[in-house]
């Protein structure tokens, strides 16, 4: 954790609420992006990100300033997303049809975004669709958010071994998915 963040945390803890905004500002888009990739729904993502901000302020006194603030924030987000998913029964939505997903993607992108964006997001979501919730969380934190394995384990409250197992399974599934659905990307070099 850098000195700037440490200073901001101390200011918030001493009662300076205004210091909270600059503390979380650097993670503004990453929080919403990760929430969106976990929940796959723009509205849910905003609710989860909002809940993350709320909890991070509420429990900031429990944060260990020697550790990474980013990992801690992502840890809260993953928990919030899990709770949100359980509350809404979002797991059932994983099975929704391609057309419904396309509509949701278009909706999330907004009318001003091009068809290419939708196609790109559709491909990304297509890859993530084959993963279990746990694998998806591990994969997103490690391979998209660039946390290392230890930070990922800390964010998910699991062991490094468990993260490695899920990460390995996730990468296998994603490679297989790309081979099956987008063989041109890997050059079609099946063994």
């Amino acid at each position: 954790m850098d000195e700037r963040e440490k200073g901001l945390v101390e200011r918030v803890l001493s009662g300076d609420q205004a210091a909270f905004a600059p503390l979380v500002e650097p993670y503004r888009d990453r929080l919403l992006g990760l929430a969106y990739r976990i929940t796959r729904n723009a509205e849910d993502a905003k609710e989860v990100a909002q809940e993350t901000l709320l909890r991070s302020f509420k429990y900031l006194a429990n944060f260990d300033v020697e550790k990474s603030f980013k990992s801690w924030l992502f840890q809260i987000l993953v928990h919030a997303a899990r709770n949100h998913g359980a509350k809404r029964g979002r797991e059932a939505s994983l099975a929704r049809s391609d057309s419904a997903r396309q509509a949701a993607l278009l909706n999330a992108s907004g009318p001003e975004k091009g068809h290419e964006d939708v196609e790109l997001r559709s491909k990304l979501m297509d890859c993530l669709d084959v993963l279990s919730p746990r694998e998806r969380a591990v994969f997103l934190l490690r391979d998209v958010e660039d946390l290392n394995v230890r930070e990922t384990a800390a964010a998910l409250g699991s062991s490094v071994v468990s993260v490695r197992v899920h990460l390995s399974a996730a990468r296998k599934k994603i490679r297989q998915r790309i081979r099956d659905k987008h063989p041109e990307i890997l050059g079609g070099d099946r063994p």
Binding site: Y36, R37, R171, R175, I178, L186, P191
Partner: protein, 178 residues
């Protein structure tokens, strides 16, 4: 390493997530094995593709008012108190456990403090079969400081069994011990 073992490690190798020792072994193998090298390349390519998708993909973003409102709402929350490490406390012992423990202690104390009775006197209070059991014990028992006697009778369908324990002064059953 065998190709089979190496291929199990390839997904983690793609992100450099194997331990350093294993990474060196796997890299040494794929440097010499074309099939495994090709396989490793597909994992690396798949990972790179998804990372590119994620980097180029623009997920929904906050509008400025939304972000400000979210931060303001969060900062208006009441902070929770700092979590304290709980001090371990002894759980209260149920009264019946205490009563049993006291009773057991009392029985032991009584047995230990019971004044010595002559073996004959002690045996007079029990059945003849028990006396026979105790009879051939020998002169050791006849000493004034001889063993204490404890008996339990088990009533069975066809009769009863009396178990007799002999304890010396030290409350040990090895009454032949010197």
């Amino acid at each position: 390493m065998t190709c089979r073992a190496v291929r199990r490690s390839l997904p983690l190798l793609a992100g450099d997530d194997l331990g350093s020792g294993k990474t060196a072994k796997v890299r040494a193998h794929i440097a010499a094995c074309d099939a495994c090298r090709l396989e490793a390349a597909t994992y690396a390519a798949a990972r790179a593709v998804v990372r590119t998708f994620a980097r180029e993909d623009r997920p929904p973003a906050w509008t400025e008012p939304e972000w400000r409102a979210a931060v303001r709402a969060a900062a208006g929350a009441v902070p929770a108190e700092r979590k304290r490490t709980p001090v371990p406390r002894l759980r209260p012992v149920p009264a019946y456990v205490l009563a049993i423990a006291l009773a057991a202690a009392g029985v032991v104390a009584v047995l230990h403090k019971t004044p010595h009775r002559a073996p004959g006197a002690a045996l007079a209070g029990i059945s003849s079969s028990a006396a026979e059991l105790a009879g051939p014990i020998g002169p050791e028992l006849r000493r004034p400081a001889g063993p204490h006697l404890t008996t339990i009778r088990f009533n069975l369908k066809d009769g009863s069994i009396k178990v007799v324990w002999f304890f010396n002064r030290d409350f040990k059953t090895d009454f032949y011990g010197k």
